[in-house]
C-alpha cells in the first residue's frame, strides 16, 4: 500500500497534537511505578509475618508490577480516546473522507498506538522492576535471575496488548463513554471479582488481565491454569479479536 506511510504519519500527528496523550501515558507510568513501589515496600516490611508457604511462592518480579492494576486504567483511557475522540467530535467523518480505506486507517491507528505504548510500557516495566526490587531488598530478585528478564519484557507486551484491546473496543463502541463504561469496570472490578468466584474462575483465567498476570509470573502458583507463553497468546487473541471486530463494524457501519 503506497499510502500507508502517509496515513501512519497523519495518525502520528493526531496522537502527538493532543494533550490527553501525554497526560494519560504519564499517569500510567506514575501510577504503575508508584503503586508497585508502595506495595513492594509494604511487602518487605511485612515479610516477618508471612507463613513459610507464602514465602515459598512469593514472586518478587510480579509483585513489583502490582501497580498495573490501577495504572492500566489510564492506559485504557489513552487508547480509547485515540479513536473515541474522533467519534465524539464528529472528526471521524473528516478522517474517513481523507482515508476512505477502513483497513488502512485501523491498521495505522493500531500501529501508532503500538509504536507509542510499547516504549512507554518498557520504561514503565523496567522502572517498576528495579524500584520494586530495591525496596524489597533481600527478598527481591535480580534481572539476571532465570525468567526475570522475560517477565519484565512480558509486562511491557501485556500493556501494549491491553492498549490494542482498548483501541479495538473503542472502534466497536465508538463513543468514549461507552468504551470506558465497559472497559474500566471490567478491568478494575468485574474480572478481579469473577476471578475469586470458584466456578467462574476457570473462565476468568482467560480474561486478558488474568492472562497478563500469568505472563509476568516468574514463580508459578500451585496449579497455574497456563504458563506465561499461553498467557501471551490469550492476550494476543483478545487484541486480534477486538481489532477484527472493530474493523468489521467500521467497514460496514455508516460513519
Amino acid at each position: 500500500m503506497a499510502n500507508t506511510g502517509a496515513v501512519l504519519l497523519s495518525e502520528w500527528t493526531k496522537v502527538r497534537t493532543v494533550r490527553s496523550t501525554v497526560i494519560t501515558l504519564l499517569i500510567t507510568f506514575v501510577v504503575t511505578v508508584g503503586l508497585g513501589a508502595g506495595i513492594c515496600a509494604i511487602q518487605s516490611a511485612q515479610w516477618h509475618t508471612f507463613s513459610a508457604s507464602t514465602r515459598a511462592t512469593f514472586d518478587p518480579t510480579s509483585t513489583s508490577f502490582s501497580g498495573i492494576s490501577l495504572g492500566q486504567l489510564s492506559l485504557i483511557v489513552f487508547a480509547v480516546l485515540v479513536v473515541g475522540n474522533e467519534y465524539s467530535t464528529g472528526m471521524i467523518r473528516a478522517t474517513l473522507a481523507a482515508v476512505p480505506r477502513r483497513r488502512t486507517l485501523l491498521l495505522s491507528k493500531a500501529a501508532v498506538v503500538l509504536g507509542l505504548v510499547l516504549p512507554v510500557a518498557l520504561v514503565t516495566s523496567f522502572t517498576s522492576f528495579f524500584l520494586g526490587q530495591a525496596l524489597l531488598g533481600d527478598h527481591g530478585t535480580s534481572i539476571g535471575a532465570p525468567h526475570v528478564l522475560r517477565a519484565v519484557l512480558a509486562m511491557a507486551v501485556y500493556m501494549t496488548l491491553l492498549a490494542l484491546i482498548s483501541l479495538g473496543v473503542s472502534f466497536m463502541l465508538r463513543k468514549p463513554v461507552a468504551s470506558l463504561g465497559l472497559l474500566m469496570p471490567f478491568f478494575f472490578l468485574i474480572s478481579p471479582i469473577l476471578g475469586a468466584v470458584p466456578k467462574v474462575k476457570t473462565v476468568a483465567h482467560y480474561f486478558p488481565d488474568n492472562a497478563g498476570q500469568e505472563m509476568v509470573r516468574v514463580i508459578a502458583e500451585k496449579n497455574p491454569p497456563f504458563g506465561p507463553l499461553e498467557g501471551f497468546f490469550v492476550c494476543l487473541a483478545w487484541a486480534a479479536a477486538c481489532l477484527l471486530g472493530g474493523y468489521l463494524l467500521l467497514r460496514q457501519r455508516d460513519a
Binding site: E11, T17, M91, R93, D254
Partner: protein, 335 residues
Amino acid sequence: MIEVHELTKRYGDTLAVDRLSFQVPQGVVTGFLGPNGAGKSTTMRMMLDLDRPTAGSVTIDGKHYNELREPLKHIGALLEAKAVHPGRSAYNHLLWLAQSNRIPTGRVDEVLGAVGLREVAKRRSGGFSLGMGQRLGIAAALLGDPSVLLFDEPVNGLDPEGILWIRNMMKSLADQGRTVFVSSHLMSEMAVTADHLVVIGQGRLLANLSMNDFIDQNSHSFVRVRSPEPEALLDALATAGLTARPATEAAHAGAYEVRDADPAVIGDLAQARGIALHELSPQRASLEEAFMRMTADSVTYRTGGDQAPVAAPEAPGPAPAPARSGWGADWKKES
C-alpha cells in the same frame, strides 16, 4: 464530475433517499435544495462513502470514492462545522489532513491565509466561534486543491457577515473553474449563489435544471390591479379572456391579481371602457414560494392525501440554526 445513479438509502422502514439520479455540472455552483429531512446530508455522506448506500452508486470522475487514491485532491467537503478536536490547533488539524493525502505541508499555511485564520492558526480550535469553525472547515476542503467541493448547509447559524463571506467564497471557487455542490433548505440563499439546481423532497428528485429555467418555470408572473369600480374591471377582463382572483395578501386587500397577463393589455382595456385604475403593477411570485409549492407537491404525492401543506414562507436572509427534528434527524448522529 459527480454522477449519482439510482442512489437509495433505507433506514428501517424509512426511505431517506429514493432512487436518486443526477449529475453535478462542472465549473458552476449547483444548489442542492430540499426541505430539512429531504435526504440532502445523507446523499452527501454517501457521495463521500461515509454512509453505505442501500442501492445505487456515486462516482467521482468515473471512480467510486474509495477508489480515489488521495481523495482530498479530487473532492473537498465541508460537512459540519467544528468537527475538529477542540484541543488541537487549526494548524495541526490541517496538518494531519494534509499528511494523510500527501499534500505538501506548505499548503496548510496557504489555505489558512485564504480563509483568514492565519493569526489564530496555533490556537486551540475549541475556542473558535461557529464562523471560525466554518472557515476552518472550508480551509480543510480547499487543502488538496480539489476540482470538486461539497458544502453541506454552509451558512447555517452564521451571522450576516459570515454568510456573505461564504457566498463570495463559493462564487470565486466556481469562477476558478471548480465544481461547487452546496446544499441548502433556503431557496432565497440559492437564488443568490447557485447557477444550477437539484431539488429533492422526501429523498426523491423533484427538479434538475438551471437556475434560469427554474425561475422561468416556477416564478409565474402576474399583474396586480386595483380599481374603484372592481365589477366593471372584472367584467372587462373576463370578456378579454383574462381571469382575475382577489389578492391573498392582507397588504393588498381589495386588489386583484391577473396571471400571465401583459400590464399594457389591461391598461388599454381599462382605458377603452373608461375604468379608472389605482394600481397596475407587474409582479413575480417569489422563488421561495415556488420552492415551497414544488416540495409541498412531493409531500402530498407521497402521503396520498389531498391536503395541500402550506408552510409559511421562510424569511430570506440569515437563517436561524434549524432545530433538526422528525425522521430526518435519525441519521444525524448526536455527538
